[in-house]
């Protein structure tokens, strides 16, 4: 019961935070590499399956997902637009959770 109550409180604070970070920034979402990998009609799975387990398989598959070698996009600072009231909301969500626990 305690577990469930704790989980509900945790979900509540996380959902509040998510309202301010609903999805990755546009820079990161642009050309979504994960979706592309999952839906690419030109990808030959049979060939990949044959390579599975071999040395260098991870490198091969990562090159397919991120052909330019950029696995973690660094959003430009200019694309960000948080305001003070947003920061206050998130900050108080955290504090409310940890002071009431």
């Amino acid at each position: 019961m305690l577990q469930r109550t704790g989980l509900i409180k945790l979900r509540r604070v996380l959902r509040t935070i998510r309202k301010h970070f609903p999805q990755p920034t546009d820079d990161v979402l642009a050309g979504n590499a994960i979706d592309k990998f999952l839906d690419d009609s030109h990808l030959c799975e049979d060939k990949l399956s044959e390579e599975a387990g071999s040395d260098g398989f991870l490198d091969s598959i990562m090159k397919i997902i991120f052909p330019n070698g950029e696995s973690l996009k660094q959003p430009k600072a200019s694309s960000l637009g948080r305001c003070i009231s947003t920061d206050c909301n998130i900050y108080f969500s955290f504090e409310l959770y940890f002071t009431s626990s």
Binding site: L10, L58, I61, P75, K76
Partner: protein, 210 residues
């Protein structure tokens, strides 16, 4: 209700890390990159861990509905967002594979319903039919299939019949898309599996998939 509660202590620890990330972002003076990057890196995985992402505990036939499709896509998005920041996180690939794998139930429903139509619905023949259709001849997979068959006899077959399936172009498309995505996620898990447990999980999922 079969939903297993995640370990709240571990989630609270992750939330503390997230708060630290956030506080650092607030005081950051580095203008060259996103100060909230670490928040993004941790938030979606934590959200996915805390939310109920499995559709199997919903009402009968839930995954077949539009609501079920949206539920699955919503959950899949959390893991996909996390993977944009953490493409080497084994757990996210594996959980994403599981989400897409649930649509597999629809496919098996189709096989079962075919057998219902052809063989007049004898339960003992259903599991047999899965083996005939090439699912697997091993005892282990057989047990898994029997469990799934039981689930579907209770749920899926009440929601759609064979002619309904054949007339609906969306469902077979969903199944095919999910199978493809699940296969690719599992390929990634097999590439990332390092510990014996991960290797077993990855191999088991692949075994069940093929």
């Amino acid at each position: 209700m079969n939903y297993i509660l995640p370990q709240v202590d571990s989630l609270v620890h992750s939330l503390l890390v997230l708060r630290t990330n956030y506080l650092f972002a607030l005081v950051s003076t580095d203008c060259s990159s996103d100060p909230y990057l670490e928040v993004y890196c941790n938030l979606y995985y934590l959200l996915a861990q805390s939310e109920e992402t499995s559709a199997t505990d919903k009402w009968a036939g839930f995954v077949i509905t539009k609501e079920g499709e949206e539920f699955m896509e919503h959950n899949a998005k959390l893991f996909k967002y996390d993977l944009l920041y953490n493409p080497l996180r084994f757990e996210s690939w594996q959980r994403l594979a599981n989400i897409y794998d649930e649509v597999k139930f629809l496919f098996i429903t189709f096989l079962i319903l075919n057998e219902v139509e052809n063989w007049n619905g004898k339960r003992t023949l259903f599991s047999h039919s899965l083996i005939i259709h090439g699912y697997s001849s091993s005892l282990f997979a057989f047990v898994l299939c029997v469990q799934e068959v039981d689930l579907l006899l209770n749920d899926g077959s009440k929601q759609i019949n064979v002619s309904g399936w054949r007339k609906n172009a969306t469902l077979p498309h969903r199944v095919e898309t999910s199978r493809r995505r699940s296969r690719r996620c599992l390929l990634m898990t097999s590439a990332l599996a390092k510990t014996p447990v991960q290797q077993v999980l990855s191999g088991l999922c692949w075994f069940r998939r093929t």
